[in-house]
Assembly symmetry: C2
Homo-oligomer: 526 residues x 2
């Protein structure tokens, strides 16, 4: 059994505080800098690598972080998790999203079945369904093929699948794997559903209703919106809609859907991209084989996360460096900066993954803690960000650690050569330049043009953004967040902080308000 202790009770955390800080400007200059770039690198799955040369660490800091990871028993805790221990203490649930893409340990039984078999079977059912849609065996009332798939879901049923779809759309178009266009409806703002419905051909669209509980207000509201639109078009909504839900939800056995696919309580929304939540829409959009490759990439990366040697475990190493930045160096946020247009919404997914998992102030036993936990996560693709908020990153008064992501090749592989370089080369040159500019800075007597440097970053580098590397990337961050939750001794798998707003919103709609809430309701005409 692993020992669950608060970070500030660990001896190695006290030791870490005494390790000399790194002067990043000098460390990253000259020969020293070149050596760091060569040596401070870990292999990831699918040809990716995690390079932490430009982080504020050296061999002494790394040794102390290794000791902390050991004392915090990160490997033991991960092992307990994938072997089915009840890690989500708040909701008293196992945490099984890794089982949707592989199996790292023992068989996990729950609800009377082997859960790996259950997830595999759902994946198989989705694959068969998607193949039938693509072949036209499942078609609209006139026997015409569906051409568009629309996901109705919010939070984890939206951000992850949407980010993954956008990340693979261009790759799929180039490689002949593009089967159907996907759209997403999430916000309860009626303009969201209306605009999506106005922009598609509903007669040739298939809708996926995604809600684990089958009770999510936004999602059920948007379902009604869609049913309305289908009716107005003279269509039978039950022939245009499938559900992804849990077996115990009211949606599971409803006649309103062509078919229902299942997940369960052991997969949190923000960890559900590799379950049917991502599986249905991605299999319909790109085919089941592409989705299977995506799962393979994630499974390979999970294996690395199970490695007990932190220097061969990129997620654990990334997590520990993040803890060092947060709890020792005092940095409060991290910017995620993918130099890849396909990853345009990947930062928004990580924002949920990280902030909803680790934005907590009590430990896993419900006791208060005396140290900071999850940082703010934000970001936009480079080079766009360079012409936006990078000014503050370079010369602002706060230091913000940076997570770059870059690929050697573009997805569409359509390029122009201007001034002796392609656009892809310019893109890569920019990310390399930024890392060094942030780390080393540049002295100037005019302080307005002076760059202090000392701004830490890491980069994940890959050959190409494709299903396998995307799966590895996703798994890396899921496991990083999990390890950080272990270090902070918090429960990264519940989200009690979203409840109060729901309760009060219901009161507003029922006109059961007083005080400030009643006044705001008046101002907003409710």
């Amino acid at each position: 059994m692993a020992n669950w202790k608060n970070l500030d009770t660990l001896k190695s955390f006290e030791d870490l505080k005494t390790v000399k800080h790194v002067d990043l400007v000098s460390a990253m200059s000259g020969e020293s800098g070149a050596n760091r770039v060569k040596n401070y690198s870990v292999k990831m799955a699918a040809g990716l690598s995690y390079n932490y040369a430009a982080k504020e660490v050296d061999d002494d800091v790394l040794k102390a972080l290794e000791a902390l990871a050991k004392e915090a028993e990160l490997s033991e805790k991960f092992e307990a998790l994938y072997n089915g221990e009840v890690i989500n203490t708040g909701e008293k649930r196992m945490v099984l999203h890794q089982l949707t893409r592989g199996q790292l340990g023992e068989n996990v039984m729950a609800d009377g079945v082997n859960k790996r078999d259950f997830y595999l079977n759902e994946q198989k059912r989705i694959a068969e369904f998607a193949n039938k849609v693509h072949s036209g065996e499942i078609a609209n009332a006139k026997g015409e093929k569906f051409t568009t798939v629309v996901q109705i879901g919010i939070g984890g049923s939206d951000l992850g699948p949407r980010a993954m779809y956008l990340a693979l759309e261009n790759w799929a178009r180039r490689t002949g794997n593009f089967k159907m266009e996907a759209k997403f409806i999430s916000n309860v703002d009626p303009d969201d559903a209306s605009a999506v419905l106005n922009g598609i051909d509903v007669a040739h669209s298939i809708f996926i209703l995604v809600s684990k509980s089958g009770t999510t207000l936004e999602t059920l509201t948007n379902e009604s919106f869609v049913i309305d639109a289908l009716k107005k078009a003279g269509l039978d909504s039950s022939k245009h809609m499938i559900a992804v839900t849990s077996e115990t939800s009211p949606l599971a056995k409803s006649d309103n859907y062509l078919e229902a696919f299942f997940m369960d309580d052991y997969i949190g929304g923000r960890y559900s991209s590799t379950s049917g939540v991502g599986g249905a829409v991605l299999s319909l959009a790109f085919g089941p084989d592409v989705f299977a490759q995506f799962l393979d990439g994630a499974a390979e990366e999970d294996k690395l996360a199970a490695n007990k040697n932190i220097f061969e475990n990129p997620a654990m190493l990334d997590a520990m460096i993040g803890v060092y930045e947060r709890n020792i160096l005092g940095y409060g946020s991290t910017a995620v900066l993918p130099y890849s247009q396909g990853l345009s919404r990947f930062p928004a997914h990580l924002q949920q993954l990280d902030m909803e998992s680790n934005g907590k102030s009590v430990n896993r036993f419900g006791e208060p803690i005396n140290y900071v936990t999850g940082p703010i996560i934000f970001g936009e693709p480079g080079t766009n960000g360079q012409h936006s908020f990078y000014q503050l990153l370079h010369q602002g008064t706060d230091i913000i650690p940076l997570q770059f992501i870059g690929f050697k090749n573009s997805q569409l592989q359509n390029d122009v050569n201007i001034q002796d370089s392609t656009s892809q080369q310019k893109l890569c040159a920019n990310v390399a330049a930024q890392i060094v500019a942030f780390a080393c800075g540049k002295k100037d007597e005019n302080l307005n043009k002076n760059f202090k440097g000392g701004r830490p970053s890491s980069i994940i580098i890959g050959e190409e953004l494709n299903p396998k590397s995307l799966g590895a990337l996703l798994s890396h961050f899921e496991n990083k967040v999990m390890f950080q939750g272990f270090v902070w001794n918090i429960n990264s798998f519940d989200q009690e902080g979203v409840q109060l707003g729901k309760v009060l919103a219901k009161k507003v709609l029922a006109h059961e308000t007083d005080g400030a809430l009643a006044e705001y309701s008046k101002l907003l005409n409710i």
Copy 2:
């Protein structure tokens, strides 16, 4: 002449430090909370109002902020700015973006002309051009109407115009003002331009090349990309492209463009949405009248910013409360949370506007300063954010001030009634509920379900998101950022922090690197 002094030399700043902090939970509870919501509100233009009831202020704090605004001479500095003083000290330029939509003070002469006349004339030229495109007088080589407009630009030439286009698209479709679809190409990543070009009918597309200097690497690269695509389609690119640039740029008199429209050095990229940079694309997409209404909203809000009474000047009040949160309460970031799908990219625009303007560590004279300046800005539309990062906002270890935006009516006005309320009512109920949940919290013996509250927010409320209210909203934040720059005694109108990366990227492409930069270049295959 205004006195430009560092914040920490002002007596009223010292006084502010001694004012008792507000207990937001108790202030926002019961009758007190109701009274605050009623009283802590300022009228804005276009039917908007700024409500700061849920901010950590009371009459004592507000009085101290009023004194600080006076001692910092905010009104005098704004007056100097709009009367044409050289406020952008780093680049030795005037700051004239307000003149693109109105005139608050004296005539401003530069480059031998009255600048208000100059901007009005460019707006008129753009209007005439747009009308000719809409009527078909300006058409493609076959005499067919253009149906799509594509903006090629990055940073301020992209984020603002794109956010404004998305903010008005649905409104324009409902009100019959939708003329042409707009697309945007910004990133040097070749997948950005390729994907946009693959998704449009180039033969019926008109492109706007936007670069003030005419030398922006990304934009010129993407222009070549587009010219290539037009050539491949057998089209004459000079008949499909216009430029928005400065009169001194190499693009100004080139034969490569159907027409060129002008801005100048007195309009920073991030402040250029109301110049031709936003004007060309918005006039083509929605017609010149809609663009004129947008300018009217901004001009009306500018007038309020010139008000010397802080309690009738929403931008100044918002700015001072932000300074209080940043420099007294120590909060390092602000989340922008519009409850309006149309504002999906408005936070990304504010991210540039604020972080690029005020992410500075030296004062306007190039001297170091000893206090923090611009915060991190991030955000996503509600209710989506509620199912994502709100967990950390409610229960995380750091306090993050919030800026809500909400409208009583939707844009498309297509809605469904479910469980006795429309989607729009649900949307508004949620924002009201969130404000109170953040401010008041809720005690629970189970600390995992406990909400401490005390998390400050303000809300801007409007009737509907339309051209006029959007203009007012934009101006509000531009002026807020300006006032904060004045308080911090920094230059909010240059961006020297973006230069070093550009220099190093050029070295990488020329293979003139050593040390770490050479190693990163190898890793990225450049």
